[in-house]
């Protein structure tokens, strides 16, 4: 056994877990000490560095086949760590602003990230479950961070109850798959795949567990309540990193455990879910006046677009989804970041879109960046969101799923309306009476600028600098 090699394979996960312990220790010794934040940032940068290092290596097993690393798993790690890092950068100022800057938050983020890395590299149902639960439990805690408000406690409780509910299905599915094939190894299940009832039911329940986590309709109902109740920068973390990790795990499971067997038609199921999710998410987003709820429904819709790519079930489709997650993560963290920037100001509730009137000119840089992120989310070229959508829809069309792509295109047509609405308030409405705006730290603004630049850069030059996307995601 090559323990050193195994450890190396899981290095980003180990770094984040150890840093999480360190943060808790710091908090125990010196409550509220700033070093916890710096340890978190630094460890994430180091983990991201190692994650980028392993991009382009072939997909390999580690820890006696419990995990995989390299290939698409490495790409997933980069997305997760990138999203986490930026959320941490934004959290410091924001949580300070709303008087909830506890060091435990950073510990939770680090543990959750470690869980996500495990989830996105799972090669066995056991490690998959371990990663998923490590991630979820930390997220439940984060959702209830603002505990002195009814909303916060309610959101966290809802999230926990429904999360436990869905975990039940996932676990049950795993058990049935084990019963049908006699193994928990993902490639092992794929090799023993059959179309008997036990196997099909197991696959369906497993999928349901995933669909809950990515908030696909009709398993999405927790999303708006929870997103609204959670502190905004942590909402960004939930909406991006955790979804990216779950989608990555889905790609691994779908491509390796559920091959095309006669009678096993998960593609059709996923495309139905994708259609409902896209339509529902976009339509209901239209009537939201609270910008966080609007972004929650928009994230539901985006999960629908990603499901389009998964339904294609081709290497092209999977890599399109991977790129989509990358795009979605940077633009969504950016949009939430700008919302958080406004929200830090007391007096008005800046998550209400009516109160954003005229702010575009008052804070020009933030206004420009918000417009950029929203344009990208709406899928208008030349921003990264357009490229992501294009890849996904093109993959669906090449897999002969033209109607699916058409629904996607039309649904995203409707989405323009509600993204544009925010910009109309920012720029085309008279500002309210003088509201003093608190400025953010250099790091905060710097993080947003980098996200904005990435949104533009990968929109114009979407080939990753490490080589072609297809070469990155080798070996399913």
């Amino acid at each position: 056994m090559d323990y050193l090699g195994d450890l190396q394979a899981f290095l980003p996960g180990i770094i984040t877990a150890v840093a999480g312990l360190a943060v808790i220790t710091i908090e125990a010794l010196k409550s509220g000490h700033k070093s916890a934040y710096w340890v978190t940032s630094f460890s994430l940068i180091v983990a991201l560095f190692f994650g980028i290092q392993s991009l382009g290596t072939p997909l390999q097993e580690a820890f006696s086949g419990m995990l995989v690393h390299g290939g698409i798993a490495a790409f997933g790690n980069v997305i997760i760590l990138l999203g986490t890092l930026f959320c941490v950068f934004l959290s410091n100022d924001y949580l300070e602003g709303i008087d909830h800057n506890y060091n435990e938050v950073y510990g939770m983020i680090l543990f959750a990230t470690s869980g996500m890395i495990c989830l996105a590299g799972a090669n066995d149902l056991i490690s998959l479950f371990l990663g998923l639960e490590t991630m979820s439990i930390c997220l439940y805690v984060m959702a209830g961070l603002i505990k002195n408000e009814k909303q916060g406690a309610e959101g966290a409780l809802k999230y926990f109850l429904l999360g436990a509910f869905s975990t039940g299905f996932l676990l049950y599915g795993a058990a049935l798959l084990y019963g049908a094939t006699g193994t928990t190894s993902i490639p092992g299940i794929g090799a023993a795949a059959s179309s008997d009832l036990l196997f099909l039911a197991g696959a369906a329940l497993l999928l349901i567990g995933f669909l809950f986590k990515v908030s696909a309709v009709p398993f999405h109902m927790w999303t708006p309540d929870v997103y609204q109740a959670t502190p905004t920068t942590l909402t960004a973390y939930m909406a991006t990193a955790s979804k990216a990790a779950t989608f990555m795990a889905m790609i691994l499971v779908l491509s390796r455990a559920l091959p095309s067997v006669e009678g096993l038609d998960w593609q059709a199921v996923l495309s139905v879910v994708a259609i409902i999710t896209m339509i529902f998410g976009n339509i209901i987003a239209l009537v939201q006046d609270n910008i966080k709820r609007m972004l929650a429904y928009s994230s539901i819709a985006h999960a629908g677009y990603a499901l389009v790519g998964l339904s294609a079930a081709t290497p092209e489709g999977y890599s399109a989804v991977a790129f989509y997650l990358f795009a979605y993560t940077i633009m969504n963290v950016g949009a939430f970041g700008v919302v958080a920037y406004y929200e830090r100001n007391k007096g008005l509730d800046f998550s209400d879109v009516n109160n954003l009137a005229g702010l575009g000119f008052k804070k020009p840089m933030m206004g420009v960046m918000m417009s950029l992120f929203l344009f990208s989310l709406a899928g208008i070229p030349p921003f990264v969101g357009f490229v992501g959508k294009y890849y996904v829809f093109a993959a669906a069309i090449n897999a002969n799923m033209v109607p699916l792509a058409i629904v996607g295109v039309l649904a995203s047509a409707a989405s323009v309306y509600y993204y544009l609405r925010v910009m109309v308030y920012l720029y085309f409405r008279e500002a309210h009476k003088e509201t003093e705006m608190i400025d953010a730290s250099f790091l905060y603004k710097g993080a947003l600028v980098i996200l904005a630049l990435l949104t533009v850069y990968y929109g114009i030059e979407p080939i990753l600098p490490f080589g072609g996307l297809m070469e990155l995601i080798t070996g399913f």
Partner: protein, 673 residues
């Protein structure tokens, strides 16, 4: 990068650079916003240099030259799917580039005068540069995706510029209306693009047009129709044209540049670019012609009744765009492009001239206010004008020249292009498999030509001839003509340049038959036709020469009689009596024209009102804030569903779990069955 690519990339890069410099500096450095000379010069230079480079490319090209492809970098690359940021310089795109940058430059110069007192000066020029950048991507892109990038980009810029004076609610609504109407068209285009990609696996024009036989008949018809729907959105054709007149809420230079000369012609460019495909689907061609002809006559009849100087020009633009589609559908792709070019000259001149008039009228209003008189009037309403030729000689002369051009009086530009449009329409009735429908459409075109000459002279005579009517209309404004004066040189010079182009632009396309009748061998005096023969799949002219002579004579007679009638009815301050006379002659028909065929109301009545009633009575809780036209009607309908769904979202965990379980049952059923 080799030197030719570097030189070419300046065409694209400079307007973008101008946008970034003015936009970013203006946004962050407050003192920069007042350096108006500097801002205007940077923006104008960023358009002028690309114009010079485009001319250089034009000179180094001849009619037989192969297209030059300049690839800057690879944009997307996944598996078999690859798109480059590559530009295509060929006879068609170089021509469009010269029009966009040339007319664009003149309008930049004009705007330096027109916008000089506006606080948002820096923003205005930043947007203009961004528009030019997007428009150049549209006409120069070597693949459909890059064209689409420009297509969306010009839509965004048009949105920003229509709503430029956003403090006014009506204006920001007009902006939104324009944007959303355009999006309707855009999505048809996007679906067409996917279908093209699915069939040939590429979006490059060379590949698409080289593999037309791999499309099935049905696919080709669908793609052709979808692209045409896209074009009707951008180029304001029935049924999507209602946004364009509202778009006149933007500053007048914007109307001239975007909503007359360039952006609105992009639908025509697209179909022209795809002409080899369209030539293979005659059933779609006939639809294009019918829509074009209908739009032309509908808009022309509305134009007769308008009193807003920009309103007349807006409907006139819609009508002229209809002519271009008429020609496209009749296999006259070159004729349509010819009309695009000449129309850019004379319509830009007319819009800038109207801007000059509005500027002067606003000046009168300000002057009266300074005297302490509380007088308010609409500076765009021609009923308050009249006799302006004495006070604004340059504006008058250029406006008159452009009016003669658009009316189709030889030998000015509009005569030749309109004549070719009409001749090609008739010709489509003669070609093999041609339809009698085209001959009917020729008739519609001729009536429209008469109306065009008539309403344009109505506008010019009412505005510039007779006496200044403001003092007689409003007592307090007596003596206000002393505030009238001609505008500064940077506004009149562009007018003169455009007027000269409106005089001579037509010689690009003098019909060959004029010479052929005498020499009896193929002539080459139609320069444009020779220039574009490699790109446009025009129908061959099947008509005898004598038929062409007759058609030309008819269109000259029609134009002259339109002008003559307008002179009789409008030359001596008789506008309101004459309008009343027409109204009583045509009765109900006239009020239909005046109410713009009630199209806004129809859209509202069909979709919006039932929705409102339903939501008022059935769902009174649901707040419908704005219901205006189809834009909000669509949004309203969708919002209605949205709020229905919202009731499902009650916030109770048990109902969430119930939905969850239903989902589980459905998915299990789907998987197992």
């Amino acid at each position: 990068m080799e030197s030719a690519t570097a030189l070419f990339s300046l065409i694209i890069a400079l307007p973008l650079l101008g946008f970034l410099i003015n936009g970013l500096t203006g946004l962050f450095v407050e003192s920069y916003r007042n350096k108006k000379q500097l801002i205007g010069s940077i923006a104008s230079t960023a358009v002028f240099i690309p114009f010079v480079i485009a001319v250089y490319f034009f000179i180094n090209m001849n009619a037989g030259s192969e297209a030059l492809i300049y690839k800057l970098f690879t944009w997307m690359d996944v598996g078999t799917f690859s798109v480059d940021v590559a530009y295509r310089v060929d006879q068609l795109s170089v021509m469009m580039t010269m029009v966009v940058t040339g007319v664009g430059f003149l309008i930049h110069i004009y705007s330096m005068g027109y916008m000089s007192h506006d606080e948002g000066y820096w923003k205005f020029f930043a947007y203009l540069n961004l528009f030019i950048f997007a428009m150049l991507n549209l006409v120069l892109g070597n693949n459909l995706l890059l064209l689409f990038l420009g297509w969306e980009g010009v839509g965004v810029c048009s949105y920003l510029l229509i709503g430029f004076w956003y403090t006014d609610m009506a204006k920001s609504d007009a902006a939104k209306k324009a944007f959303i109407y355009n999006r309707i068209g855009d999505f048809a285009f996007l679906i067409a693009m996917f279908m093209v990609f699915q069939t040939v696996g590429s979006l490059n024009f060379d590949v698409i047009l080289g593999n037309l036989d791999s499309f099935t008949e049905g696919y080709m018809v669908a793609i052709g129709l979808l692209m045409f729907v896209g074009a009707t959105g951008k180029s304001a054709q029935i049924p999507l044209f209602v946004w364009l007149p509202d778009a006149m809420a933007g500053p007048t230079p914007v109307s001239a540049l975007i909503h007359a000369a360039t952006m609105v012609t992009s639908g025509i460019y697209l179909i022209s670019r795809m002409s080899p495909m369209y030539a293979m689907i005659p059933e779609v061609m006939i639809i294009i012609s019918v829509i074009g002809a209908l739009t032309a006559i509908v808009a022309a009849t509305i134009a007769i009744t308008q009193n807003d100087i920009k309103g007349v020009l807006a409907y006139s633009t819609v009508s002229q765009l209809g002519y271009m589609f008429l020609a496209l559908g009749a296999g006259g792709f070159t004729a349509a492009m010819f009309h695009v070019v000449t129309h850019a000259f004379f319509k830009a001149c007319l819009f800038l001239g109207s801007g000059s008039v509005i500027h002067a009228m606003e000046h009168v209003e300000h002057g009266l206010h300074k005297e302490g008189k509380d007088v308010h009037f609409d500076p765009q309403d021609m009923r308050f004008m009249g006799g302006l030729k004495k006070y604004m000689p340059s504006t008058y002369k250029t406006f008159l020249i452009a009016t003669v051009a658009i009316a189709g009086i030889p030998p000015l530009a509009g005569f030749f292009s309109k004549d070719e449009v009409l001749a090609m329409t008739m010709n489509a009735g003669f070609v093999d498999g041609g339809s009698w429908v085209y001959m009917m459409l020729w008739g519609v075109g001729i009536i429209t030509a008469f109306l065009t000459a008539f309403y344009m002279f109505r506008l010019t005579l009412t505005t510039f001839h007779g006496s200044f009517k403001l003092p007689t209309k409003i007592k307090e404004a007596a003596g206000s003509e002393k505030f009238l004066h001609e505008n500064p040189w940077n506004m009149t010079t562009p007018l003169w340049i455009l007027a000269v182009l409106a005089v001579f632009g037509g010689f690009l396309g003098v019909p060959n038959f004029i010479v052929e009748t005498f020499t009896h061998e193929p002539a080459h005096i139609n320069l444009l036709h020779d220039w574009l023969y490699k790109i446009n799949a025009d129908y061959i002219i099947e008509m005898e020469h004598w038929v062409e002579w007759v058609l030309m004579a008819v269109s000259i007679l029609i134009a002259i009689s339109g002008v003559w009638l307008a002179f009789r009815m409008y030359n001596n301050d008789q506008q309101e009596e004459s309008d009343a006379k027409i109204a009583s002659r045509f009765g109900g028909l006239y009020s239909v024209w005046k109410d713009k065929y009630n199209l806004d109301d129809v859209y509202e009545g069909l979709v919006a009102n039932p929705t409102v009633k339903f939501s008022d009575k059935v769902l009174a809780v649901f707040d419908m804030k704005v219901v205006d036209g189809i834009v909000n009607a669509i949004a309203g309908t969708v919002r209605l569903f949205g709020s229905l769904f919202r009731y499902l979202q009650t916030g109770v965990v048990s109902s969430y779990a119930l939905a969850f379980v239903i989902g589980v049952i459905v998915i299990l059923y789907l998987m197992i069955s």
